[in-house]
Symmetry: none
Subunit: 430 residues, 2 copies
């Protein structure tokens, strides 16, 4: 498998004033072409920085791909770095100058003198056409080692077009690009990363010495992505091994798995509602609109989502959701009882078959001795029936809100999946 | 000036499957503390990759700052890399184990066995407290060179808290960080980046040859950050120059400026409501809960926010918000009239002095020949009075929703600021 180093060039990236997304795009595109990215190095516009990044890359990679620093101004030094690295001079290409002049003429403009610079290219380089701009891409080969150094512009649409249309075909021709390795992803909810790892320990143990087995965990604050890999196997050959791994992972994690790599919990729940021709409403207190926002972020949510109430005062809970004043007075707004009445009230106000409600203390204020920040009750209403779940979520205000919305969606998912309310789980209050 | 290399650790970043924003944040924060970032290296979770990135960094930097790979699972190897680099062993810290156990116990959970791992730390390391998670930060000093290697978690809120509260104070103590250069930031709403630059052109022209003047524009999709800099001047000496720049910028941009660098529009609006002892309610259709979410993201929002209705069906608009069926039938839900009735209905249902409403087509479906994706009506109700504003927002579903919520908040801000509805602006439909 070809290994690559990506080098992103630009002073403004080192001050954090601009955030680049080229490196992620290049990494994904190379990965899909079977090229493993070993590292990404971001450096400034100085000649020494660029050449030293090429050095680091070529120490253990067959490909170094640079992006940026190909413009016509004096702070663009990528071409100079390639010349120094390969010990060649810049050569003048009259036909490139004509091209650039024509490009400006087509827009009724005269070519600025500074653009002449772009007609000079490292001697011996293979030049890559740029359908969208005046900077050429460059590909150079180290004759002794066969290693390749290539440079593309930093302007994202130019880089993307040239990577797909010029560079990858050349790399395939040279036998450096190949089909991607086999892997599968599962999205897990309701467990911390360590909990997922613990439940998958038997899988890790069984395959510990298997030559193709690899597993990785990526926590995303409100869920965990598990990646099962058939290392060293191509997609086709790895498929049955991955089938076996996935089957065991599913057996161990059960309904904690809500989907594959690209799935979103709100979308999965929406799909389940759609299949059941069911409708949903919400009543939010501590999640403040975020639960509704997650539901409506899914295109087509209006097929099953009727709407919601954000009830930020007791009066609203009473008037719009029919919460009993007596309950608010005796047990308080942050309680199982109020959560259940809110869910029933939302189902009724919006004529929905299912409803979710949240009430809790997102913080930083509002906590009491009995009710700490993070205490949240979530209720789920299923036709006439209702059930509440208590949690204590950690993190700041926004994280408590995110965990509340995610957990509410998951309670509904489990309810729809099993056609009954889920049992309380480890970590939930009883 | 201290030079630093940032090392971001995580396999998933090399496949482009996750995009990280930690490196930009760290670069900016270090830059503000007078530390120049020389390069950013992103590597996978392998021990060799992490140690070789440390090597590259320490070749010419006094600080290598790692982020990521401090979790408890087997693919987290940053601590091992530090041990190898400094030739030390992991040491067991019983009080860290107690802390982690307590952290789980507070949430009513038993600590998974795998978390024991986080009580082991490199011998001789200075440990940095993590207010939000169980992974400790690490700071180690190379006794011979005085160079520092530090590791923070990859989870952004944890990294940010520990960088500001633990690591930077330590670096300042060691004389590696210095006071930030003099600068001032203004947040601008209701204009694209090019519009902001156009309005500030007289300022740029006047100071073009001033030795200390610099200005930068950072577009953030729904607003623009303008940074005025007194280059080469320290905070104290630059203050009066920055005062002059800010005064002129405020004169040129007028009420497009809603605050300073760290201000959030919803927070600014909340503060204005609080000062006026006024209350707010919302009725959302196309923004789907996002407007409510932005309002409630502000701690203490319950002081002025009464709540909202997400009306995702016409029936809800009629029953909960009192929109007239006749209006829905004649002009349709996406109209000035319905927006105004929704705002009035929300003010009435929630007994609020001010109300905002949104109705539009967030896409990708729902557009007609007369009503394209991005068409949004926003109404603002001020006591008994109401006014609607039409916009066509660009971008995908989520961006249309974000622009809708932001614009609604800005209409309310201008209404509160001038104690009357704002005039329609360039770019708004008339």
């Amino acid at each position: 498998m070809t290994q690559a180093t990506i080098v992103i060039v630009g002073d403004e990236l080192l001050t954090g004033e601009r955030v680049e997304s080229n490196s992620g795009y290049i990494a994904r595109t190379l990965g899909e072409a079977g090229i493993a990215v070993k590292r990404i190095i971001t450096v400034g516009d100085q000649l020494e920085e660029i050449t030293s990044a090429i050095d680091v890359g070529l120490a253990d990679c067959q490909l170094v791909l640079l992006s940026g620093g190909l413009g016509p101004t004096s702070d663009d030094r990528t071409k100079d770095a390639l010349c120094r690295y390969f010990a060649v001079q810049l050569e003048f290409h009259p036909q490139i100058l004509d091209d650039i002049r024509n490009r400006f003429a087509e827009r009724g403009m005269e070519m600025p003198q500074v653009n002449r610079e772009q007609a000079y290219q490292p001697a011996g380089a293979t030049l890559l056409d740029n359908p969208l701009g005046s900077a050429r891409g460059i590909l150079m080969v180290n004759e002794r080692s066969g290693a390749i150094v290539s440079a593309l512009p930093g302007v994202p649409p130019e880089m993307k077009a040239m990577l797909a249309d010029s560079l990858l075909p050349l790399l395939k021709e040279k036998g450096l690009a190949s089909p991607p390795p086999a892997q599968r992803e599962l999205r897990v909810v309701g467990l911390p990363e360590s909990g997922v790892a613990e439940m998958l320990a038997p899988l890790e143990e069984r395959y510990a010495s298997h030559p193709h087995f690899a597993i990785a965990y990526y926590p995303h604050q409100i869920e965990v992505l598990v990646r099962l890999k058939a290392q060293g196997l191509e997609a086709e050959k790895g498929a049955s091994f991955l089938d076996a791994l996935e089957e065991e992972a599913r057996r161990l994690l059960g309904d904690h798995i809500f989907g594959g790599g690209e799935d979103d919990l709100a979308e999965v729940v929406g799909q389940m509602l759609k299949e059941r021709k069911a409708t949903l409403a919400v009543a939010e207190s501590c999640s403040g609109g975020l639960l509704s926002q997650r539901i409506t972020a899914v295109p087509g949510a209006s097929d099953y989502y009727r709407g919601g109430v954000v009830a930020y005062s007791n009066q609203v809970k009473v008037e719009l959701l029919g919460v009993r004043e007596e309950t608010l007075e005796t047990v308080g707004a942050v309680s199982e009882e109020v959560a259940m009445q809110m869910a029933l009230g939302a189902a009724s106000a919006f004529s929905a078959q299912y409803a979710l409600s949240t009430t809790g203390i997102a913080g930083p204020t509002g906590a009491t001795a009995e009710r700490p920040v993070g205490l949240v009750y979530i209720a789920c209403c299923r036709r006439e029936d209702v059930r509440a779940y208590g949690h204590i979520f950690t993190g700041g205000r926004h994280m408590v809100m995110r965990r509340t919305a995610q957990t509410a969606l998951d309670i509904l998912r489990l309810t729809l999946l099993h056609d009954r309310f889920p049992e309380k789980r480890k970590g939930e209050m009883t």
